[in-house]
Symmetry: C2
Subunit: 167 residues, 2 copies
């Protein structure tokens, strides 16, 4: 069982964060089209489009239709956390779903009622929250700062030019 | 996208932890059969059987064949963490799979090589590790202690009797 289909985030989470990072570099009032976001990251346009719609519903990006339309961030990069993007794509449900199997214990009396949530579920939910807490603590602006510091200036310049030609 | 199929752990994780907690109460050299573990928790025997096999492969439980056979813990309850059970069922792969889409940037020169792992992947891996760290910090014995403290004595006694009659 272990090696078959482990719990894993959708690729759209990776795509969504990379797209937001790129969009963070746009000048005010400029938009980048889905096809350009797809080309820059080497992604299938149709699937990326769904991820961008989820980000739009979550008000992380905003879109404009038409020939010069496309997407831009709906707020500043320091107001968007990794958790915002992850939850826009994956939802806010805990990774642990408690089905209350303790209630199936055949030794319970019919009127028995649990006084507290199951201790096992509590731990699993705390672990889920530890994951979210880390994602909540990092803003897009943090990784952008690091990316700019670590990337050669000429690559940054060419990328900026590539994007600006398309906005 | 958000509400459809969020990332979620297999039910077998929940089942596995509950079964280990029950097995922790067995006297030495006694085993509980899959059908009894299934009945106690109200679970489908065939699927539970697969989860128990995963726990066995991970050396968390050990099994004996035959009419008095079944499962027991392979080590003490304070030597088994939540993470041990989760990884036995789900594997050890990170919940984030980096597909290195930064390498698709059309502005990169052919010989460009990244000096560091992608900053986005690093954060996602750190969040996964925060989740695992919490799971690693809790032992089965911790929840058993809490369960015993919170459960009415008569229910504990009936459950123990139910189990012992079947070992």
């Amino acid at each position: 069982m272990g090696s078959v289909k482990p719990m894993i985030l959708k690729s759209q989470v990776e795509w969504g964060i990379h797209c937001c990072v790129l969009l963070a570099g746009l000048p005010p009032e400029r938009y980048l089209a889905t096809k350009d976001l797809a080309e820059f990251h080497g992604l299938p346009k149709e699937y990326l489009s769904k991820a961008l719609q989820s980000l739009s519903q979550a008000k992380i990006v905003e879109s404009v239709l038409g020939p010069t339309g496309g997407y831009r961030l709906a707020k500043a990069a320091d107001e968007i956390t990794f958790l915002d993007v992850v939850e826009a794509i994956e939802g806010r449900k805990s990774t642990f779903n408690c089905t209350e199997i303790r209630q199936n214990n055949p030794c319970r009396l019919a009127d028995y009622c649990d006084s507290k949530p199951c201790g096992i579920a509590s731990i699993m939910w705390q672990a889920d929250e530890a994951w979210r807490e880390k994602l909540r603590s990092v803003r897009l602006s943090d990784v952008i700062e690091q990316y700019v510091a670590e990337t050669p200036v000429d690559l940054l310049e060419r990328s900026t030019e590539w994007v600006l030609e398309r906005t």
